[in-house]
């Protein structure tokens, strides 16, 4: 080879640059990430997962859940909405003004301008920030996934194929542990037309002894277990469900702001 040194240097530089871009850069940027502050709250996010949830991630990994499920919610855009919270001393003027303004689907600049107009007329308003996107419309999340969501996940189970729904926010969407366990044991019992294979080896089917186990699964009426038997989750199943329930990407963060919908008591 005539120019061995040249080829070596070229290869070294090419690999070195991509190493800097793919390994060094991200490590420098996110390697020291800590819990983030939840917007307008003194809470931090994400919470340190419980021991069961940490082990559950390994069960999730071992069973290849990431082959069919993602943990990343995409967001296509963001819109602002103006909500009138008070009409002030001259309600007629404010109402008339509000009826002439566009109140939804605004950019932040438009929302600020409209909110200034209403405030000047004496009304009080709140500006709501609403993430929009196909995944959000499906109810899979309330905002896009960001690096902070995966702070305690090792390895991160992003997934790339969605044979099943996205699980980034499953702990907030389906918070019932029994539902999760029944769904793992027999997906079709609680989710009709589910394509998920049953994970029965994570459960033990046994004769009811002196008293039924407090851990035994509560099946829906149209899917009773064989009479005299009960289905008890193994530690792995409990850990997996603890992990699934710990997936709650439902708080606003600096990098993904939104206005939470507060449930009226």
């Amino acid at each position: 080879m005539k120019s061995g040194l040249c080829v070596f240097l070229a290869a070294f530089i090419a690999l070195g640059l991509s190493w800097c871009g793919f390994v060094l850069g991200p490590a420098k940027q996110l390697g020291t990430a800590r819990q983030a502050a939840v917007l307008n709250s003194s809470d931090t996010y994400p919470l340190q997962p419980t021991g069961d949830a940490t082990l559950g991630l390994q069960v999730y990994r071992a069973n290849g859940c990431a082959a069919c499920h993602t943990e990343q919610v995409r967001q296509d855009g963001v819109t602002c909405e103006i909500v009138l919270t008070g009409a002030g001393k001259n309600p007629t003027a404010v109402t008339n003004l509000v009826s002439t303004l566009k109140l939804t689907g605004l950019t932040k600049e438009e929302a600020d301008a409209a909110s200034d107009k209403i405030t000047a007329a004496g009304g009080s308003v709140e500006t709501h920030i609403n993430p929009v996107g196909r995944d959000i419309a499906r109810g899979w999340g309330v905002r896009r996934s960001v690096a902070a969501d995966f702070l305690y996940d090792y390895p991160v189970q992003l997934g790339s194929l969605r044979a099943g729904p996205d699980l980034a926010n499953v702990g907030a969407r389906l918070p019932d542990a029994n539902w999760q366990l029944v769904h793992l044991y027999a997906p079709s019992a609680v989710a009709k037309n589910s394509a998920m294979p049953p994970f029965r080896f994570l459960f033990e089917v046994r004769k009811i002894g002196d008293a039924p186990s407090p851990d035994a699964l509560q099946f829906p009426k149209d899917f009773p277990p064989p009479s005299g038997c009960e289905v008890v989750p193994t530690p792995e199943a409990k850990q997996l469900v603890a992990y699934l329930l710990s997936l709650k990407a439902d708080v606003p963060l600096y990098e993904a702001p939104f206005t939470p919908v507060i449930a009226k008591p």
Binding site: S42, V125, I129, R144, P252
Partner: protein
């Protein structure tokens, strides 16, 4: 294989082809620079300059900053938290748990979560001297007045923040409320616990 077949194997001149120099066509150079330029424009508009906080659909740190919630009660609370952590948190603790022999806890304190906020608002406005019982413990206090340093909005935010954080569940305080209290009672020297108790809630 015999000798004749071997000699027949040599084809052509027997020389390896050699690369020679030639100029790159100008068109390709132009196209490459054009692509580089377009890439630069796209990068400038969409990269957020590799800021770790900027994700799509936001394209820059400025735009993300613009979208932070700033109006209404939530913004006042966020402002109050910031003021609390820089001013009050030094003694009372960022967690609101206070510091032994220095400042009483605010989390769960009956003075903080009282139905009315008139007594509470008096404390940062004018300071507090002497003995005060907080959560069943006696404190000998010497708190400096903050009324001159903090605006009505600052104080309203702080009071709202301490009344709604760390498990405290009391009502918010508005800047107008603080303004009224300041006008009515402000400008005192530091008050004592007995004086504090004489103020209606």
């Amino acid at each position: 294989m015999n000798d004749e077949a071997k000699t027949n194997c040599t084809v052509g001149t027997g020389r390896e082809p050699e690369a020679t120099r030639s100029t790159v066509p100008m068109g390709i150079v132009v196209v490459l620079f054009l692509l580089l330029f377009l890439g630069g424009v796209y990068f400038d508009h969409h990269s957020g300059w590799f800021n770790a906080k900027v994700y799509s659909p936001y394209v820059s740190a400025e735009q993300l900053e613009l979208y932070q919630p700033k109006s209404g009660a939530a913004a006042a609370l966020a402002h109050g938290k910031q003021v609390y952590e820089t001013v009050c948190g030094i003694c009372h603790g960022v967690d609101g748990m206070g510091k032994p022999a220095q400042a009483p806890p605010l989390a769960g304190s009956e003075w903080v979560i009282a139905g009315g906020f008139h007594r509470l608002a008096q404390i940062p406005l004018d300071g507090l001297n002497g003995n005060l019982q907080v959560e069943g413990k006696d404190w000998n206090l010497n708190m400096a007045p903050m009324g001159a340093a903090l605006s009505d909005a600052d104080l309203a935010g702080v009071l709202t923040y301490i009344r709604t954080s760390w498990g405290n569940k009391a009502g918010p305080v508005t800047a107008d409320d603080v303004k009224a209290i300041r006008a009515a009672v402000g400008g005192h020297s530091a008050i004592s616990a007995a004086q504090l108790s004489s103020i209606p809630e």
